[in-house]
Each structure stands twice: as C-alpha cells, then as structure tokens.
Amino acid sequence: MEPYKNEMSTEHRVEAGVEGQQALGGRRTFFGWVTGVAASLIGLGLAVPLLGYVISPALKRRDKPWVAVGSVGGLPVEQPTQLDHMSTIKDGYVETKSHKAVWAVKQAGGDITVFSPLCTHLGCGYHWDASEREFKCPCHGSVYDIEGHVLAGPAPRPLDVLPSKVEDGTLFVTYKEFKAGLAKKVEI
C-alpha cells in the first residue's frame, strides 16, 4: 500500500483557527456560552444527587432502643455493678450485635443511676475501686465519686448518666455516646 498523505499541512491548521475566529465573530460567543451552560447543567445534575448519595447515611439518626440489662432486685445497694448491654443494630445493610458494659449504681434511696462506661476526658474505660470507693480512670488519672462527680484528674465533667427506667423489676437502659473532652454533655 502506498503511504498515505496527511490531508492537513501545519499551515492549513493555523489558517483553520484564524478563519474560525473571523468567520464566526458573535456566534463564537454564543457557542461558547451554550457549551458552558450544557456542561454546568450536567455537572449540577450529577453533583447534587451524588453528594446526597454519599452523605445521606451520615445524616441518619439511628434509633436507640431500650435494652433490658438485668433485674433491679439483684443489684447491691451503693455498690457499682457492671452490666452487659447487648443490642442488635443495623449497620447499613448488615445487622450487627453491639456489646457494651454500663455501670449501674443503686443509691441508698433505691434510685438507680446508670453511667456510661467511658471516662469524660478522652473516652477510656474506667473501673470501680472498691477499697477507696471511687471510680478511677487508668489513662490520665481522672477520679470520680459514686455519684459521678469529678474528684481529681483532667476529667472536664461528671460521668455521663445514661437514660434508664425500671419496668416490672427489670432495668432498661438506652446506650448513648457523648463527645469526650467537653465541659458540656453533647451527644454524638
């Protein structure tokens, strides 16, 4: 096969550009404008739904169920007890089991307070020191009394109380998490 001659010389290319500019004049602006509008409409038509698509799960609030954690009768008075909080949560399209341990304290009057198991400073797990009768966080030395008040350490606020109720002798708790490090209790 004979080599094929390229139809367009370099000279011709330059000419084409100049010719286009001169011949079109005002129409050139119009074509540019329509191109811009078409591109923007497509961009907008995609950006809005795609953005919503990605952020929608972040905006959904999960239902936090009441979970039975044990019978009230079994709780010793003024002796904090750690109770299992088991629930099934929907994680997107997967159902997962959530297992948390909350601190329940039966006060002398019979009222029950349930504390979140996380220290309000940076979210470490703390424990009950039975001999000194204090809650102690091992990480940075925060100390709380049996009512959750801060006695020492960097903790910015008292222990977080979780919503709880008693029905037919059974203790129900709703598990929530709060932002660590703030003086105010802010739910996540």
Binding site: Y4, A16, L24, T35, P49
Partner: protein, 441 residues
C-alpha cells in the same frame, strides 16, 4: 478572574500550545451533527465511570451481602435508586451510542486507509463494552443476574477442547458462587476500566495523528476547514446534555427493579438477558443439537473476526456509499438479521405473560396472616375491610401498599387495620399480589 488564573498558569506551564492542539483541530468540511456519536460514547463512559465509583461506595461483592447492599442503595440511600438507574440506563445508552458511532463510521467509509488501526481499536473497545455489560449483569446477585450469567458461562463451555477449562476459569471453580462474583466484580471495576481507558487513548491518539475523515467526497471536504472549537464542541455539548437528560429521565421514570435474591435451587426462573444480547439469545433458539456450537461460538467468532479485519477485507478505495454497493448491502443484511432477531425476541417476551413468583408468594403471605378474615377477594373472605378484588386498578402504586402494610394508619389515617409483623420481603411480595389484582388479569 478565570482568565487571569489562565494567564498566570499559561506563563508558567505554557498552556497555549496544548489549548491549540485540543481545540483548533481542523474538521474537514466543517463541524457537523453527524460527528457527535464518538463524543456521546465518551461522555457515557465518563458517566458510567462516575456512577460506578459512587455505587462502589455501598456495594459489597460477596454473595452474603451483594443483594442486600443493592437493596440498601435502592431503598435507603438518598438518590440511591437514581444513581443505580443512571448506571443501568447509561450502559444501554453506551451500546446505542457505540452502535450509531460504528454505523456512521461504516457508512462514511471512515475505516479505510489510513484509519484501519483506529477502526480495529474501536472494535476492541466495542468488545470491551460488551464484556462490561456481561460482568456487570451478575453484580446485583439477583435471580436474573445469577441465571443469565449461568447461561452465558455455559455457552463458553461449548467451545471445543478449551471450553471446559475457560468455564472453570471464569467461575473460579466448578460452581457459580463467591469466587465468581468477586472476580466478575474485579474485572468489571478494575481490569476492564484500565483496558478501556488505554484503548480510548490509542483510539484518540490515532484520530489526532491522521485527523478526522470528514465527508466522503473530497470536494465537500475542501469546502471549508473549521476548527474543532467552538462549533463542534458546542454540538457535542448539546448532544451530551440531551443524552444526560434522557438517561436521567429513564432513571427516574423507568426504575430498574431487583428480582429476588439469587437462588441456585430455583430452576423455574426464566432469565432474560439485556436487550442488546437478545438477538443472540433468539438465534440460539433456532440452532440445536450438534449444530449448537455453531451458534454459541463459531458464528460469533467469525462475526468478530470479520468486524476486526473489515478494513482489510473491504479493499474498495471509494468512500462514497453509492460506490460501495457490496459493503453497504452486506451491512444492511447484517443489520436486518440482527434487528429481525431482536424484534422476534421482544415480541415473544411480551406476548407470553409469565407468572411472577413474587405474586405467588404474596398470595401465600395473604393466606398465612389470615387477611381473608376481614378482606374479600372475588367473593371469598370477610367484609370488615375493603373488598380487594380489583385493588390493583384503584391503587397501582406498589410503594403505597408497602407503607400501608407496614403501618396502615400512616397512609390511611383512622384505619382500624392492625400492623402486621411482616419482613421487607413479605411486604414486597404482598404488594406484588395486591397490584396484580386487576380486572383484566
């Protein structure tokens, strides 16, 4: 502001020559609406790439979760059904756009020297798009996906000597399962896009080296030489917007539902391939027994080879269709056969009303929860609630039924109907049954 930024960047990066190369490409014979199909195909590829990336945000390529994750996208993610719809209809749109692009190239004789390599790269691009369609079809892991892919892979099995081996490689073993799904996923989202982008680059590189073919008569091509920008860019942009609006409208008004979750034990399911594979599906009905390999692989292999080497088979130097009676005649016969097969297949598909398995299951749910105690259908059942004999005519909206059965008071305030503990699947089945209760049925 924008022009200032451009000047600033240009003074450092020397952008002007690039802009010239990209926008001042001369179009022989001037810009034309007939040249938009390539850009429309490229636009649809970009749309598929973007929507595909976003689908991957939620999709899980395992048999345990694939179906649930798509259902999650469909029913719980904001704009989820729309994004999936764009991807689904975008695939169809891409096949249409490529078809028109190839048709125009063929009609204009634009595959002739010096553009043989561009045509060949184009044919490979077309095959890659078909491979995209085939691998993507399995991903929702619903009944249609499972059985259509099952059949597709079995066809490969009829290739002599290596068929069995190829089949096992495609499936990742002896059965269509977890390994098949993950390899189809990897091929669909990683291997094929990389291949496709490389070949698009080759295709466009050749285009820029040899220039567009232009009109088929040299006299007309010499009439004017117009630059690519602004008029061809404007035409391309208008067509892209049009294509986007059509795909978006289809995604909104013709949702692409999920069938039931893939069930390898349910052999009663009749799978139907996508419309662009239908002509081939129809062809297989006419060829049986020892001749079957002829239809499943001999003929397709010949068609693909002829397509690929077409510029070397058609040695007629003329580009004008009038002076190419054999090529144009042959092309018309080929198109006629394909569209006749497609037509017959579509007619058969829509003539036979198939029993929808979800309607049957919905009927079972109706019986199981004792709905007949209050409702009457064709004279059977109590008269406490409304007669449901023709409820599909008065309430054709499936979603209404789903909401109603989930919580009757939410859509019918004051309703005395109690809530029933139905699963999502049962709700959908029951809705299918309710909607099917029509006068003509």
């Amino acid at each position: 502001m924008a022009s200032k930024l451009y000047t600033w960047l240009d003074s450092r990066l020397n952008l002007k020559p690039i802009q010239k190369t990209l926008l001042d490409e001369p179009i022989p014979g001037g810009a034309s609406w007939i040249y938009v199909f390539g850009s429309a195909t490229l636009f649809l590829f970009a749309l598929q790439a973007v929507t595909g990336m976003f689908l991957a945000v939620y999709y899980a390529p395992t048999p345990d979760h694939a179906y649930d994750s798509i259902q999650f996208i469909e029913s719980e993610v904001t704009f989820g059904a729309f994004v999936r719809g764009l991807h689904h209809w975008g695939a169809s749109g891409m096949v249409v756009a490529i078809g028109l692009h190839m048709l125009q190239t063929f009609l204009y004789g634009a595959y002739k020297p010096p553009r043989e390599a561009m045509w060949m790269a184009g044919v490979v691009l077309f095959l890659i798009v078909m491979a995209f369609a085939f691998t993507g079809y399995l991903l929702p892991w619903d009944q249609t996906a499972y059985w259509a892919t099952h059949i597709g892979i079995n066809m490969v099995g009829t290739v002599p000597l290596i068929g069995e081996f190829l089949m096992k490689v495609m499936r990742g073993g002896d059965t269509l399962g977890a390994l098949t799904l993950s390899r189809f996923f990897a091929v669909h989202v990683l291997f094929l896009p990389a291949l496709l982008m490389g070949l698009i680059a080759v295709h466009l590189f050749i285009l820029r080296r040899v220039g567009p073919a232009g009109p088929w008569t040299d006299q007309r091509a010499e009439l004017r030489h117009e630059a690519f920008y602004p008029r061809q860019v404007y035409m391309d942009a208008v067509v892209m917007l049009g294509v986007f609006l059509v795909i978006a409208a289809l995604a909104i008004w013709l949702p692409f539902p999920l069938a039931d979750k893939a069930n390898p034990s349910d052999t009663s399911f009749v799978p139907v391939p996508e419309w662009y594979f239908l002509f081939y599906y129809e062809l297989l009905k006419y060829v049986h027994g020892p001749l079957e390999p002829l239809a499943t692989w001999v003929l397709p292999a010949i068609v693909i080879l002829v397509m690929l080497f077409w510029p070397f088979i058609d040695r007629n130097p003329a580009r004008n269709p009038v002076r190419r009676p054999v090529a144009i005649g042959g092309g018309m016969v080929f198109l006629f056969v394909v569209f006749a097969l497609l037509g017959i297949s579509l007619r058969d598909l829509y003539a036979v009303s198939r029993a929808d398995p979800s309607v049957m299951r919905g009927k079972a749910v109706y019986a199981q929860f004792g709905c007949a105690a209050c409702h009457r259908i064709h004279g059977e059942g109590g008269a406490v609630g409304p007669d449901l004999s023709f409820v599909g005519d008065s309430r054709p909206d499936r979603d209404w039924h789903v909401r109603h059965h989930k919580d009757p008071a939410s859509v019918s305030p004051g309703s005395i109907m109690p809530k029933f503990p139905l699963t999502e699947q049962q709700l959908r089945d029951l809705a299918s049954y309710m909607v099917s209760l029509k006068k003509e049925a």
